[in-house]
Subunit: 232 residues, 2 copies
Amino acid sequence: MTSTIATRGEEVYVRMRGDIVAGEFRPGTKLRFAMLTDRYESSASVIREGLARLVEQGLVLSEPQQGYRVAPVSIRDLKDLTLARCAVETQALKLSLEHGNLAWESSLVAAIHALERTPIGSKPSSGDPWPIVHRRFHEILLEGCPSQRLINTALRLRDSAALYRRWSLPADDYGNRDLNGEHRAIADAAISRDTESACHLLEAHLNLTARLLVERGLQEGFLEESEPVESG
Amino acid sequence: MTSTIATRGEEVYVRMRGDIVAGEFRPGTKLRFAMLTDRYESSASVIREGLARLVEQGLVLSEPQQGYRVAPVSIRDLKDLTLARCAVETQALKLSLEHGNLAWESSLVAAIHALERTPIGSKPSSGDPWPIVHRRFHEILLEGCPSQRLINTALRLRDSAALYRRWSLPADDYGNRDLNGEHRAIADAAISRDTESACHLLEAHLNLTARLLVERGLQEGFLEESEPVESG
DNA sequence: AACACTTAATATTTCGAAATTCTTGACGCA
DNA sequence: TGCGTCAAGAATTTCGAAATATTAAGTGTT
Protein backbone atom coordinates (compact mmCIF):
# COMPACT_ATOMS: atom_id res chain seq x y z
CA MET A 1 0.00 0.00 0.00
CA THR A 2 2.67 2.47 1.03
CA SER A 3 4.61 3.03 -2.16
CA THR A 4 8.34 2.75 -1.77
CA ILE A 5 10.05 5.96 -2.71
CA ALA A 6 12.61 5.63 -5.42
CA THR A 7 15.08 8.42 -4.73
CA ARG A 8 16.16 10.34 -1.69
CA GLY A 9 15.19 13.58 -3.40
CA GLU A 10 11.64 12.38 -3.85
CA GLU A 11 11.41 11.31 -0.23
CA VAL A 12 12.75 14.63 1.02
CA TYR A 13 10.31 16.49 -1.19
CA VAL A 14 7.35 14.51 0.10
CA ARG A 15 8.40 15.01 3.71
CA MET A 16 9.03 18.73 3.32
CA ARG A 17 5.71 19.19 1.59
CA GLY A 18 3.91 17.25 4.27
CA ASP A 19 5.59 19.25 7.01
CA ILE A 20 4.66 22.56 5.45
CA VAL A 21 1.05 21.62 4.72
CA ALA A 22 0.73 20.11 8.20
CA GLY A 23 1.98 23.38 9.62
CA GLU A 24 5.36 22.35 11.03
CA PHE A 25 6.79 25.64 9.84
CA ARG A 26 5.07 28.95 10.38
CA PRO A 27 4.21 30.89 7.20
CA GLY A 28 6.87 33.43 6.36
CA THR A 29 9.65 31.72 8.31
CA LYS A 30 12.99 31.34 6.69
CA LEU A 31 13.97 27.81 5.72
CA ARG A 32 17.68 27.63 6.46
CA PHE A 33 19.80 24.97 4.85
CA ALA A 34 21.59 24.17 8.06
CA MET A 35 18.26 23.25 9.61
CA LEU A 36 16.91 21.47 6.55
CA THR A 37 19.99 19.34 5.84
CA ASP A 38 19.98 18.32 9.49
CA ARG A 39 16.27 17.57 9.66
CA TYR A 40 16.05 15.64 6.40
CA GLU A 41 19.57 14.20 6.47
CA SER A 42 20.46 15.20 2.94
CA SER A 43 22.83 17.53 1.19
CA ALA A 44 21.89 21.02 0.12
CA SER A 45 21.49 20.01 -3.52
CA VAL A 46 18.76 17.55 -2.70
CA ILE A 47 16.97 19.93 -0.35
CA ARG A 48 17.20 22.64 -2.98
CA GLU A 49 15.60 20.35 -5.54
CA GLY A 50 12.62 19.80 -3.29
CA LEU A 51 12.32 23.49 -2.51
CA ALA A 52 12.29 24.28 -6.21
CA ARG A 53 9.25 22.06 -6.64
CA LEU A 54 7.49 23.63 -3.67
CA VAL A 55 8.18 27.09 -5.06
CA GLU A 56 6.48 26.02 -8.24
CA GLN A 57 3.44 25.03 -6.19
CA GLY A 58 3.33 28.31 -4.36
CA LEU A 59 3.97 26.72 -0.97
CA VAL A 60 7.46 28.18 -0.69
CA LEU A 61 8.91 31.50 -1.77
CA SER A 62 12.35 31.89 -3.34
CA GLU A 63 14.37 35.02 -2.71
CA PRO A 64 17.48 34.81 -4.89
CA GLN A 65 20.71 34.86 -2.89
CA GLN A 66 18.64 35.03 0.26
CA GLY A 67 17.26 31.53 0.40
CA TYR A 68 13.75 30.31 0.80
CA ARG A 69 10.84 30.89 3.15
CA VAL A 70 7.44 29.34 3.72
CA ALA A 71 4.84 31.18 1.66
CA PRO A 72 3.43 33.97 3.82
CA VAL A 73 -0.29 34.30 4.36
CA SER A 74 -2.31 37.46 3.91
CA ILE A 75 -5.93 38.45 3.58
CA ARG A 76 -5.28 39.71 0.10
CA ASP A 77 -3.84 36.38 -0.95
CA LEU A 78 -6.60 34.44 0.76
CA LYS A 79 -9.17 36.33 -1.30
CA ASP A 80 -7.13 35.71 -4.45
CA LEU A 81 -6.85 32.03 -3.61
CA THR A 82 -10.53 31.64 -2.76
CA LEU A 83 -11.58 33.25 -6.01
CA ALA A 84 -9.34 30.87 -7.93
CA ARG A 85 -10.59 27.87 -6.00
CA CYS A 86 -14.25 28.76 -6.58
CA ALA A 87 -13.58 29.13 -10.28
CA VAL A 88 -11.63 25.91 -10.70
CA GLU A 89 -13.50 23.65 -8.31
CA THR A 90 -16.95 24.53 -9.61
CA GLN A 91 -15.86 23.85 -13.16
CA ALA A 92 -14.30 20.55 -12.19
CA LEU A 93 -17.41 19.66 -10.19
CA LYS A 94 -19.64 20.47 -13.14
CA LEU A 95 -17.64 18.18 -15.40
CA SER A 96 -17.56 15.55 -12.69
CA LEU A 97 -21.37 15.49 -12.41
CA GLU A 98 -21.67 15.34 -16.18
CA HIS A 99 -19.21 12.47 -16.63
CA GLY A 100 -19.05 10.57 -13.34
CA ASN A 101 -20.23 6.98 -13.65
CA LEU A 102 -21.81 4.66 -11.10
CA ALA A 103 -18.48 3.67 -9.60
CA TRP A 104 -17.69 7.31 -8.91
CA GLU A 105 -21.17 7.86 -7.48
CA SER A 106 -20.66 4.94 -5.14
CA SER A 107 -17.27 6.11 -3.92
CA LEU A 108 -18.83 9.50 -3.21
CA VAL A 109 -21.52 7.86 -1.10
CA ALA A 110 -18.81 6.04 0.78
CA ALA A 111 -16.82 9.23 1.27
CA ILE A 112 -19.69 11.29 2.69
CA HIS A 113 -20.62 8.38 4.93
CA ALA A 114 -17.11 8.24 6.36
CA LEU A 115 -16.89 12.02 6.66
CA GLU A 116 -20.11 12.33 8.63
CA ARG A 117 -18.94 9.69 11.07
CA THR A 118 -15.48 11.08 11.66
CA PRO A 119 -15.39 13.40 14.67
CA ILE A 120 -14.16 16.89 13.90
CA GLY A 121 -10.88 17.36 15.72
CA SER A 122 -10.94 20.18 18.24
CA LYS A 123 -7.30 21.15 17.93
CA PRO A 124 -4.86 20.98 15.05
CA SER A 125 -2.78 17.88 15.60
CA SER A 126 -0.98 15.54 13.28
CA GLY A 127 -2.92 12.52 14.54
CA ASP A 128 -6.32 13.98 13.70
CA PRO A 129 -7.95 11.91 10.91
CA TRP A 130 -10.63 14.45 10.04
CA PRO A 131 -8.57 16.68 7.72
CA ILE A 132 -7.60 13.62 5.72
CA VAL A 133 -11.15 12.31 5.40
CA HIS A 134 -12.31 15.81 4.58
CA ARG A 135 -9.74 16.27 1.86
CA ARG A 136 -10.60 12.88 0.43
CA PHE A 137 -14.30 13.80 0.25
CA HIS A 138 -13.61 16.94 -1.74
CA GLU A 139 -11.18 15.07 -3.93
CA ILE A 140 -13.66 12.34 -4.78
CA LEU A 141 -16.27 14.98 -5.51
CA LEU A 142 -14.11 16.06 -8.46
CA GLU A 143 -12.89 12.64 -9.50
CA GLY A 144 -15.55 12.12 -12.14
CA CYS A 145 -14.02 15.00 -14.10
CA PRO A 146 -12.42 13.64 -17.27
CA SER A 147 -9.55 16.14 -17.14
CA GLN A 148 -6.87 14.99 -14.75
CA ARG A 149 -5.07 18.30 -15.20
CA LEU A 150 -8.10 20.19 -13.99
CA ILE A 151 -8.39 17.93 -10.95
CA ASN A 152 -4.71 18.38 -10.18
CA THR A 153 -5.05 22.13 -10.45
CA ALA A 154 -7.92 22.08 -7.97
CA LEU A 155 -6.01 19.88 -5.55
CA ARG A 156 -2.95 22.07 -5.71
CA LEU A 157 -4.97 25.16 -4.89
CA ARG A 158 -6.61 23.21 -2.09
CA ASP A 159 -3.22 22.43 -0.56
CA SER A 160 -2.31 26.10 -0.60
CA ALA A 161 -5.53 26.78 1.27
CA ALA A 162 -4.56 24.16 3.84
CA LEU A 163 -1.92 26.57 5.13
CA TYR A 164 -4.64 29.06 5.97
CA ARG A 165 -6.82 26.49 7.67
CA ARG A 166 -3.92 25.32 9.77
CA TRP A 167 -2.64 28.73 10.76
CA SER A 168 -5.58 30.97 11.36
CA LEU A 169 -8.49 28.88 12.53
CA PRO A 170 -8.60 27.59 16.08
CA ALA A 171 -10.66 24.54 15.38
CA ASP A 172 -13.39 25.04 17.98
CA ASP A 173 -14.85 27.62 15.63
CA TYR A 174 -16.01 24.71 13.60
CA GLY A 175 -18.73 24.43 16.24
CA ASN A 176 -20.54 27.51 15.00
CA ARG A 177 -20.95 25.89 11.68
CA ASP A 178 -22.92 22.96 10.32
CA LEU A 179 -20.06 21.51 8.34
CA ASN A 180 -21.64 18.08 8.05
CA GLY A 181 -24.82 19.69 6.81
CA GLU A 182 -22.93 21.62 4.14
CA HIS A 183 -21.08 18.55 2.97
CA ARG A 184 -24.23 16.46 2.96
CA ALA A 185 -26.04 19.05 0.86
CA ILE A 186 -23.23 19.14 -1.68
CA ALA A 187 -23.07 15.36 -1.85
CA ASP A 188 -26.83 15.02 -2.27
CA ALA A 189 -26.88 17.56 -5.09
CA ALA A 190 -23.97 15.77 -6.72
CA ILE A 191 -25.55 12.35 -6.50
CA SER A 192 -28.81 13.65 -7.97
CA ARG A 193 -26.75 15.31 -10.71
CA ASP A 194 -28.08 18.74 -9.87
CA THR A 195 -25.12 20.62 -11.28
CA GLU A 196 -26.48 24.08 -10.63
CA SER A 197 -27.16 23.48 -6.94
CA ALA A 198 -24.00 21.50 -6.31
CA CYS A 199 -21.81 24.25 -7.74
CA HIS A 200 -23.55 26.97 -5.78
CA LEU A 201 -23.35 24.99 -2.57
CA LEU A 202 -19.67 24.25 -3.08
CA GLU A 203 -18.92 27.87 -3.83
CA ALA A 204 -20.78 28.98 -0.71
CA HIS A 205 -18.89 26.37 1.28
CA LEU A 206 -15.52 27.69 0.13
CA ASN A 207 -16.48 31.32 0.60
CA LEU A 208 -17.81 30.74 4.09
CA THR A 209 -14.58 29.04 5.12
CA ALA A 210 -12.60 31.97 3.77
CA ARG A 211 -14.80 34.48 5.55
CA LEU A 212 -14.45 32.69 8.87
CA LEU A 213 -10.70 32.47 8.37
CA VAL A 214 -10.46 36.21 7.81
CA GLU A 215 -12.56 37.01 10.85
CA ARG A 216 -10.68 34.61 13.03
CA GLY A 217 -7.32 35.59 11.63
CA LEU A 218 -7.95 39.26 12.27
CA GLN A 219 -8.88 38.54 15.86
CA GLU A 220 -5.60 36.80 16.34
CA GLY A 221 -3.70 39.54 14.60
CA PHE A 222 -1.80 36.92 12.74
CA LEU A 223 -2.93 37.45 9.21
CA GLU A 224 -1.80 40.78 7.87
CA GLU A 225 -3.07 42.62 4.84
CA SER A 226 0.49 43.06 3.62
CA GLU A 227 2.83 40.13 3.53
CA PRO A 228 5.39 40.04 6.32
CA VAL A 229 8.98 40.56 5.25
CA GLU A 230 10.70 39.89 8.52
CA SER A 231 10.09 37.21 11.08
CA GLY A 232 12.24 35.94 13.90
CA MET B 1 13.92 46.27 -19.70
CA THR B 2 15.67 42.90 -19.69
CA SER B 3 15.70 41.91 -16.04
CA THR B 4 19.07 40.74 -14.79
CA ILE B 5 18.88 37.20 -13.53
CA ALA B 6 20.00 36.72 -9.97
CA THR B 7 21.30 33.17 -9.86
CA ARG B 8 22.68 30.74 -12.35
CA GLY B 9 19.98 28.27 -11.46
CA GLU B 10 17.30 30.75 -12.37
CA GLU B 11 18.96 31.53 -15.66
CA VAL B 12 19.33 27.86 -16.54
CA TYR B 13 15.71 27.24 -15.66
CA VAL B 14 14.51 30.08 -17.86
CA ARG B 15 16.64 28.91 -20.77
CA MET B 16 15.59 25.28 -20.46
CA ARG B 17 11.97 26.26 -20.25
CA GLY B 18 12.28 28.51 -23.26
CA ASP B 19 14.01 25.80 -25.26
CA ILE B 20 11.35 23.23 -24.46
CA VAL B 21 8.42 25.54 -25.16
CA ALA B 22 10.11 26.75 -28.34
CA GLY B 23 10.48 23.15 -29.40
CA GLU B 24 14.25 22.69 -29.26
CA PHE B 25 13.69 19.22 -27.87
CA ARG B 26 11.21 16.79 -29.29
CA PRO B 27 8.49 15.59 -26.90
CA GLY B 28 9.40 12.30 -25.29
CA THR B 29 13.15 12.66 -25.84
CA LYS B 30 15.45 11.89 -22.99
CA LEU B 31 17.23 14.84 -21.44
CA ARG B 32 20.69 13.54 -20.60
CA PHE B 33 22.80 15.33 -18.07
CA ALA B 34 25.91 15.11 -20.21
CA MET B 35 24.09 17.09 -22.88
CA LEU B 36 22.43 19.52 -20.49
CA THR B 37 25.51 20.37 -18.43
CA ASP B 38 27.36 21.00 -21.66
CA ARG B 39 24.62 23.08 -23.25
CA TYR B 40 23.86 25.22 -20.23
CA GLU B 41 27.36 25.22 -18.76
CA SER B 42 26.32 24.25 -15.27
CA SER B 43 26.73 21.36 -12.89
CA ALA B 44 24.18 18.60 -12.59
CA SER B 45 22.77 19.97 -9.33
CA VAL B 46 21.75 23.21 -10.99
CA ILE B 47 20.29 21.48 -14.03
CA ARG B 48 18.40 19.12 -11.77
CA GLU B 49 16.90 22.04 -9.89
CA GLY B 50 15.54 23.50 -13.10
CA LEU B 51 14.21 20.14 -14.21
CA ALA B 52 12.39 19.73 -10.90
CA ARG B 53 10.53 22.97 -11.55
CA LEU B 54 9.66 21.94 -15.10
CA VAL B 55 8.36 18.60 -13.83
CA GLU B 56 6.06 20.50 -11.52
CA GLN B 57 4.74 22.40 -14.53
CA GLY B 58 4.14 19.27 -16.51
CA LEU B 59 6.62 20.20 -19.21
CA VAL B 60 9.09 17.50 -18.20
CA LEU B 61 8.62 13.98 -16.90
CA SER B 62 10.72 12.44 -14.16
CA GLU B 63 11.49 8.73 -14.17
CA PRO B 64 13.32 7.92 -10.94
CA GLN B 65 16.80 6.52 -11.48
CA GLN B 66 16.26 6.87 -15.19
CA GLY B 67 16.46 10.59 -15.58
CA TYR B 68 14.14 13.03 -17.25
CA ARG B 69 12.40 13.41 -20.58
CA VAL B 70 10.39 16.08 -22.33
CA ALA B 71 6.70 15.55 -21.63
CA PRO B 72 5.29 13.33 -24.38
CA VAL B 73 2.27 14.44 -26.37
CA SER B 74 -0.83 12.36 -27.01
CA ILE B 75 -4.33 12.89 -28.24
CA ARG B 76 -5.70 11.77 -24.90
CA ASP B 77 -3.61 14.37 -23.10
CA LEU B 78 -4.47 17.07 -25.61
CA LYS B 79 -8.16 16.50 -24.93
CA ASP B 80 -7.51 16.54 -21.19
CA LEU B 81 -5.52 19.74 -21.53
CA THR B 82 -8.08 21.44 -23.74
CA LEU B 83 -10.88 20.64 -21.32
CA ALA B 84 -8.88 22.14 -18.47
CA ARG B 85 -7.99 25.21 -20.49
CA CYS B 86 -11.62 25.84 -21.50
CA ALA B 87 -12.68 25.56 -17.88
CA VAL B 88 -9.98 27.80 -16.46
CA GLU B 89 -9.71 30.40 -19.20
CA THR B 90 -13.44 31.01 -19.46
CA GLN B 91 -13.71 31.53 -15.72
CA ALA B 92 -10.74 33.88 -15.71
CA LEU B 93 -12.17 35.73 -18.69
CA LYS B 94 -15.52 36.08 -16.96
CA LEU B 95 -13.89 37.61 -13.91
CA SER B 96 -11.72 39.77 -16.13
CA LEU B 97 -14.75 41.27 -17.90
CA GLU B 98 -16.46 41.86 -14.57
CA HIS B 99 -13.50 43.58 -12.94
CA GLY B 100 -11.32 44.96 -15.70
CA ASN B 101 -11.03 48.76 -15.58
CA LEU B 102 -10.44 51.29 -18.34
CA ALA B 103 -6.68 50.81 -18.29
CA TRP B 104 -7.17 47.09 -18.90
CA GLU B 105 -9.68 47.80 -21.66
CA SER B 106 -7.19 50.11 -23.34
CA SER B 107 -4.35 47.62 -23.20
CA LEU B 108 -6.66 45.04 -24.76
CA VAL B 109 -7.43 47.41 -27.62
CA ALA B 110 -3.71 47.87 -28.10
CA ALA B 111 -3.08 44.14 -28.03
CA ILE B 112 -5.69 43.24 -30.63
CA HIS B 113 -4.44 46.08 -32.80
CA ALA B 114 -0.91 44.73 -32.68
CA LEU B 115 -2.06 41.16 -33.20
CA GLU B 116 -4.06 41.96 -36.32
CA ARG B 117 -1.09 43.73 -37.84
CA THR B 118 1.48 41.06 -37.12
CA PRO B 119 1.87 38.65 -40.04
CA ILE B 120 1.23 35.04 -39.12
CA GLY B 121 4.50 33.18 -39.51
CA SER B 122 4.33 30.40 -42.07
CA LYS B 123 6.88 28.11 -40.43
CA PRO B 124 7.85 27.56 -36.80
CA SER B 125 10.99 29.57 -36.24
CA SER B 126 12.46 31.23 -33.21
CA GLY B 127 12.52 34.63 -34.89
CA ASP B 128 8.79 34.68 -35.59
CA PRO B 129 7.15 37.44 -33.52
CA TRP B 130 3.57 36.22 -33.99
CA PRO B 131 3.49 33.56 -31.25
CA ILE B 132 4.67 36.18 -28.76
CA VAL B 133 2.11 38.78 -29.78
CA HIS B 134 -0.53 36.07 -29.81
CA ARG B 135 0.34 34.87 -26.34
CA ARG B 136 0.35 38.45 -25.09
CA PHE B 137 -3.14 39.03 -26.48
CA HIS B 138 -4.59 36.06 -24.65
CA GLU B 139 -2.71 37.02 -21.52
CA ILE B 140 -4.08 40.55 -21.51
CA LEU B 141 -7.54 39.21 -22.12
CA LEU B 142 -7.36 37.64 -18.66
CA GLU B 143 -5.45 40.38 -16.93
CA GLY B 144 -8.50 42.10 -15.54
CA CYS B 145 -9.13 39.04 -13.39
CA PRO B 146 -8.55 39.93 -9.74
CA SER B 147 -7.06 36.53 -8.91
CA GLN B 148 -3.43 36.35 -9.94
CA ARG B 149 -3.39 32.65 -9.08
CA LEU B 150 -6.16 31.97 -11.56
CA ILE B 151 -4.32 33.92 -14.25
CA ASN B 152 -1.11 32.01 -13.53
CA THR B 153 -2.96 28.72 -13.74
CA ALA B 154 -4.32 29.66 -17.14
CA LEU B 155 -0.91 30.75 -18.41
CA ARG B 156 0.73 27.56 -17.23
CA LEU B 157 -1.83 25.44 -19.06
CA ARG B 158 -1.31 27.63 -22.10
CA ASP B 159 2.41 26.90 -22.07
CA SER B 160 1.74 23.19 -21.98
CA ALA B 161 -0.44 23.65 -25.03
CA ALA B 162 2.41 25.46 -26.77
CA LEU B 163 4.19 22.13 -27.09
CA TYR B 164 1.30 20.82 -29.15
CA ARG B 165 1.16 23.87 -31.36
CA ARG B 166 4.86 23.62 -32.01
CA TRP B 167 4.99 19.91 -32.68
CA SER B 168 1.93 18.96 -34.60
CA LEU B 169 0.82 21.91 -36.64
CA PRO B 170 2.65 22.87 -39.80
CA ALA B 171 1.78 26.52 -39.72
CA ASP B 172 0.38 26.85 -43.24
CA ASP B 173 -2.77 25.27 -41.88
CA TYR B 174 -3.41 28.58 -40.24
CA GLY B 175 -4.47 29.66 -43.70
CA ASN B 176 -7.69 27.65 -43.59
CA ARG B 177 -8.75 29.58 -40.60
CA ASP B 178 -9.81 33.13 -39.89
CA LEU B 179 -7.67 33.52 -36.83
CA ASN B 180 -7.77 37.30 -36.89
CA GLY B 181 -11.53 37.16 -37.15
CA GLU B 182 -11.77 34.87 -34.14
CA HIS B 183 -9.51 37.07 -32.07
CA ARG B 184 -11.33 40.21 -33.13
CA ALA B 185 -14.69 38.70 -32.17
CA ILE B 186 -13.40 37.74 -28.73
CA ALA B 187 -11.88 41.17 -28.19
CA ASP B 188 -15.04 42.96 -29.28
CA ALA B 189 -17.19 40.90 -26.95
CA ALA B 190 -14.74 41.55 -24.15
CA ILE B 191 -14.66 45.28 -24.70
CA SER B 192 -18.45 45.48 -24.76
CA ARG B 193 -18.46 43.37 -21.58
CA ASP B 194 -20.56 40.66 -23.17
CA THR B 195 -19.38 37.90 -20.85
CA GLU B 196 -21.57 35.20 -22.29
CA SER B 197 -20.43 35.70 -25.89
CA ALA B 198 -16.80 36.26 -25.01
CA CYS B 199 -16.61 33.00 -23.07
CA HIS B 200 -18.31 31.00 -25.81
CA LEU B 201 -16.10 32.49 -28.48
CA LEU B 202 -12.95 31.80 -26.47
CA GLU B 203 -14.03 28.22 -25.80
CA ALA B 204 -14.76 27.68 -29.48
CA HIS B 205 -11.37 29.18 -30.32
CA LEU B 206 -9.54 26.76 -28.02
CA ASN B 207 -11.56 23.75 -29.15
CA LEU B 208 -11.04 24.51 -32.82
CA THR B 209 -7.30 24.73 -32.34
CA ALA B 210 -7.32 21.39 -30.55
CA ARG B 211 -9.40 19.80 -33.28
CA LEU B 212 -7.08 21.02 -35.99
CA LEU B 213 -4.08 19.82 -34.02
CA VAL B 214 -5.56 16.34 -33.74
CA GLU B 215 -6.39 16.18 -37.43
CA ARG B 216 -3.00 17.47 -38.41
CA GLY B 217 -1.16 15.38 -35.86
CA LEU B 218 -2.82 12.22 -37.04
CA GLN B 219 -1.87 12.98 -40.62
CA GLU B 220 1.72 13.28 -39.58
CA GLY B 221 1.54 10.14 -37.49
CA PHE B 222 3.40 11.93 -34.78
CA LEU B 223 0.81 12.15 -32.08
CA GLU B 224 -0.09 8.79 -30.65
CA GLU B 225 -3.11 7.87 -28.59
CA SER B 226 -0.88 6.24 -26.01
CA GLU B 227 2.22 7.96 -24.73
CA PRO B 228 5.48 6.65 -26.18
CA VAL B 229 7.72 4.87 -23.71
CA GLU B 230 10.71 4.39 -25.92
CA SER B 231 12.35 6.83 -28.24
CA GLY B 232 15.78 6.79 -29.77
C1' DA C 1 19.69 -20.46 -30.61
C1' DA C 2 17.70 -19.21 -25.85
C1' DC C 3 18.31 -18.20 -21.22
C1' DA C 4 20.50 -17.00 -16.81
C1' DC C 5 24.31 -14.99 -14.72
C1' DT C 6 28.31 -11.99 -14.39
C1' DT C 7 30.93 -8.11 -15.66
C1' DA C 8 31.89 -3.72 -17.85
C1' DA C 9 30.16 0.63 -19.26
C1' DT C 10 27.02 4.40 -18.87
C1' DA C 11 23.92 7.48 -16.53
C1' DT C 12 21.81 9.27 -12.63
C1' DT C 13 21.89 10.63 -7.90
C1' DT C 14 24.07 12.36 -3.81
C1' DC C 15 27.59 14.37 -1.17
C1' DG C 16 31.02 17.61 0.87
C1' DA C 17 33.65 21.35 0.08
C1' DA C 18 34.83 25.63 -2.58
C1' DA C 19 33.11 29.93 -4.36
C1' DT C 20 30.06 33.59 -4.05
C1' DT C 21 26.89 36.68 -1.92
C1' DC C 22 24.59 38.65 1.86
C1' DT C 23 24.43 40.17 6.75
C1' DT C 24 26.30 42.01 10.87
C1' DG C 25 28.85 44.95 13.61
C1' DA C 26 32.78 47.69 14.52
C1' DC C 27 35.39 51.66 13.35
C1' DG C 28 36.40 56.27 11.81
C1' DC C 29 34.65 60.65 10.66
C1' DA C 30 31.70 64.55 10.03
C1' DT D 1 24.57 60.98 17.37
C1' DG D 2 24.35 59.76 12.62
C1' DC D 3 26.36 57.84 8.50
C1' DG D 4 29.30 55.56 5.24
C1' DT D 5 33.05 52.15 4.91
C1' DC D 6 35.10 47.98 5.61
C1' DA D 7 36.21 43.66 7.41
C1' DA D 8 34.46 39.20 9.78
C1' DG D 9 31.03 35.95 9.95
C1' DA D 10 27.20 33.38 8.18
C1' DA D 11 24.32 31.79 4.65
C1' DT D 12 23.38 30.53 -0.01
C1' DT D 13 24.86 28.86 -4.40
C1' DT D 14 27.71 26.13 -7.39
C1' DC D 15 30.91 22.73 -8.55
C1' DG D 16 33.38 18.27 -9.33
C1' DA D 17 33.83 13.90 -7.83
C1' DA D 18 32.15 9.77 -5.26
C1' DA D 19 28.39 6.63 -4.73
C1' DT D 20 24.56 4.23 -6.61
C1' DA D 21 21.61 2.40 -10.06
C1' DT D 22 20.68 1.08 -14.74
C1' DT D 23 21.83 -0.59 -19.21
C1' DA D 24 24.58 -3.25 -22.34
C1' DA D 25 27.77 -6.76 -23.45
C1' DG D 26 29.81 -11.04 -22.79
C1' DT D 27 30.19 -15.79 -21.12
C1' DG D 28 28.81 -20.23 -20.25
C1' DT D 29 25.20 -23.67 -19.89
C1' DT D 30 21.26 -26.21 -21.58
